[in-house]
């Protein structure tokens, strides 16, 4: 009730209009697509846990902009807030654990190979965009490209890791890509709430999976 009243306030609505106008320009959308490709790549190759959490937070900002193309500002902002809460939950656990976390190769050659794989995946995703747009009418090219980038790089992340933290981040990336597309076809408040619940549930689950091995065994 309070949120609805707040989101209907003239100031909030005006802010929404300004944000929409800014982010709807083609150039800004193009930059956001590049930003999302960069964050997803960074999440894949970064060795620092802190860096990954920061990148995840930035990624959710990009996802918010893309979802805002289809949803009203006050509904799209739910994605941003949920994503940031999820990032914080994962971040708090990651920071409290030991700093090591490198199942991605620490050798420069390994990193280079990974970058080449990422390039290949991005080119494939880019080339699939026109065909994919026929499947889901009503989605803009920027949304489809960003979504395919996130889904493909998230899947790559999932295929390369066997660690809970990276797995959860990979799932967040895939789901973010899906949510951009799904926002274009479904505008239900209940779905927005349930998807927020899924994101937060995944964050809590991921946090549990990370801390459980260090917990005292149940008697």
């Amino acid at each position: 009730m309070g949120f609805v009243a707040f989101s209907n306030a003239p100031g909030f609505a005006r802010a929404g209009v300004v944000v929409n106008e800014f982010f709807n320009s083609e150039n800004v959308l193009f930059l956001i697509v590049i930003l999302l490709a960069s964050t997803a790549t960074g999440l894949l190759i970064a060795r620092s846990s802190r860096g990954r959490i920061l990148l995840l937070g930035i990624q959710y900002l990009g996802v918010f902009v893309m979802v805002n193309q289809s949803w009203p500002f006050e509904l799209a902002v739910v994605k941003l807030v949920t994503g940031w809460i999820a990032s914080t939950v994962i971040g708090l656990v990651v920071f409290s654990l030991s700093p090591e976390d490198g199942d991605v190769s620490s050798l420069p050659a390994g990193q280079l190979f990974l970058l080449l794989v990422v390039m290949l995946v991005l080119i494939t995703a880019w080339s699939l965009t026109p065909a994919a747009m026929l499947w889901i009418p009503g989605v803009s090219q920027a949304q489809m490209t960003a979504s395919l980038f996130l889904i493909s790089l998230g899947l790559l992340q999932l295929g390369l890791t066997a660690r809970p933290a990276r797995t959860i981040i990979g799932l967040f990336t895939v789901l973010s890509g899906f949510e951009i597309l799904y926002a274009a076809v479904e505008r239900s408040v209940l779905v927005a709430g349930l998807l927020a619940g899924v994101t937060l549930g995944l964050a809590m689950t991921g946090a549990y999976l990370m801390v459980a091995p260090g917990m005292e065994a149940d008697s």
């Binding site: 499947w135 889901i136 999932l158 066997a162 809970p164 797995t167 990979g170 799932l171 895939v174 789901l175 899906f178 597309l181 799904y182 076809v185 479904e186 239900s188 408040v189 209940l190 779905v191 709430g193 349930l194 998807l195 619940g197 899924v198 549930g201 995944l202 689950t205 549990y208 999976l209 459980a212 091995p213 260090g214 917990m215 005292e216 065994a217 149940d218």
Partner: protein
């Protein structure tokens, strides 16, 4: 008072309360068992949407509950689903304490039951996909005990369950468009592809099956059996609900053929994998997937398959609960994780019997609960697709060889030096009771199954 309040919100509240109760594990386990049984019996005896007169008491349960602008509807056609979900929960909880499951088991199983009912009764129906995924998420604490390592199977379970959900949601959007009249062959084709991939991920259809044996090996056998059974049951019921809701999907011969093909593939592939498997928990995982293959074949076998589809849940719950209990007993007897069950028959005959009965009932061995239904499914398949029958027989043959090998291991091979005699007489009794039920249903199918079938809408 409304039906959703009784079968969703009260169990949810009860489940959360049970989670908060630390200690009194006996009490919590029995409370979960009896309350789930009560919900199941209420579903059987309270007619929904009609005036009920019990002596001086008169009431009528409305079928609709509004939540966030959407509706949760439980009507008379859902009776069988309510009974299945809650009877299953009661059954699993009945053995959970004896099997030594984690403390959270009763509470989480009750919450899961409430969520599954909600997923199958929410409108629009496709939102249920999100709720089923939440069931997969909330059960994760059962899989990873404090202090235990997180295995690859658990992570794969999480990944596949998560990836399945978006496909189902997109199918929902496409189906709504098609239901509104936008009939296009290419859209139907896309919907089929998305539906196929989504449910293949959820039901662990080949090639997305690898997490099932891994999870079975990594996790407490009773917990993994419960979770695999419950999630696949929810997914199968959801698939059934989806097909029932859209006329073009219901009338599609292509869909029926795809379902049969997926079922045959599951029986064949998992039978072949079982052939090479010596680890008892992993074997259980393959056997469960093989059994789900039968459900898909039944669902794809026109009208005759609909009753079979629902009936198959009963022998499945019985067989896998008994098998899971027996494997839990093996664990308690300090058998190693890579156990083949060697020599278990000499140590404790009832545990060995439970494993064999679970396995052979799944195979559809005569006089066991699975036999009459498996035979009926094979007859239905032979009528619609005779060529596929040979592949099913090949798959079943694989599991049969695995069963015979298990029999040899249990009976003739020497037990490991670390193994101890099973001290839990109550566990033996539970296995014996389950075994008797399997033989009773298998011996008197004409008496038991019609009672259940008559409840179908």
């Amino acid at each position: 008072m409304s039906a959703p309040l009784i079968w969703i919100f009260i169990p949810l509240l009860l489940g959360v309360s049970l989670l908060l109760l630390d200690g009194w594990r006996h009490l919590v386990a029995w409370a979960a068992t009896f309350s789930a049984l009560l919900f199941s019996l209420m579903a059987a005896f309270i007619p929904l949407g009609e005036l009920v007169v019990w002596g001086p008491l008169q009431f009528e349960l409305s079928d609709t509950f509004n939540i966030f602008g959407r509706q949760v509807i439980i009507d008379r056609s859902d009776t069988i689903i309510l009974m299945l979900v809650f009877a299953g929960t009661a059954f699993w909880n009945g053995g959970a304490y004896l099997a030594g499951t984690p403390r959270l088991f009763p509470g989480l199983s009750m919450v899961s039951a409430a969520f599954i009912v909600m997923a199958l009764s929410v409108e629009p129906f496709l939102y249920g996909a999100l709720i089923i995924f939440l069931v997969a998420l909330i059960n994760l604490p059962l899989l990873v005990s404090p202090g235990a390592k997180v295995g690859k199977g658990i992570l794969r379970y999480l990944v596949f369950q998560t990836l399945g959900m978006p496909f189902i949601l997109f199918v929902g959007w496409m189906l709504t468009g098609l239901a509104l009249g936008a009939s296009q062959t290419d859209v139907e084709f896309r919907a089929f592809i998305l539906l196929g991939v989504g449910f293949a991920l959820w039901l662990a259809v080949f090639p997305f099956h690898s997490w099932v044996p891994m999870l079975s090996q990594e996790v407490h056998p009773y917990v993994s059996t419960y979770l695999l059974h419950t999630l696949t049951m929810a997914s199968l019921l959801f698939l059934y609900g989806l097909i029932g809701r859209y006329a073009w999907l219901r009338d599609s011969l292509e869909l029926l053929a795809i379902l049969r093909a997926a079922g045959v593939l599951m029986v064949l592939v998992n039978g072949v994998f079982a052939l090479a498997e010596r680890h008892q928990s992993r074997l259980l995982g393959y056997a469960l997937l093989l059994d789900i293959g039968y459900s898909l074949i039944a669902l794809g076998s026109f009208d005759a398959g609909y009753q079979l589809f629902f009936a198959l849940f009963i022998p499945r719950i019985l067989a896998f609960a008994v098998w899971g209990l027996a494997l839990s007993a093996l664990n308690r007897m300090e058998y190693q994780v890579s156990s083949t069950g060697a020599g278990a028959y000499r140590m404790t005959p009832l545990v060995a019997l439970g494993m064999l009965v679970g396995l052979f009932s799944t195979l559809g061995f005569p006089l066991m609960a699975g036999f009459p239904l498996k035979l009926a499914v094979l007859e239905a398949l032979a009528a619609s697709d005779p060529a596929a029958l040979s592949w099913v027989i090949l798959g079943v043959g694989g599991l049969l060889v695995a069963g015979l090998r298990t029999l040899i291991y249990l009976v003739s091979v020497k037990a490991p030096a670390s193994a101890q005699t099973n001290p839990q007489r109550w566990l033996d009794l539970a296995i014996l009771l389950g075994t008797i039920m399997i033989f009773l249903i298998g011996s008197l199918p004409g008496w038991f199954l019609p009672i259940y079938i008559n409840l179908l809408p």
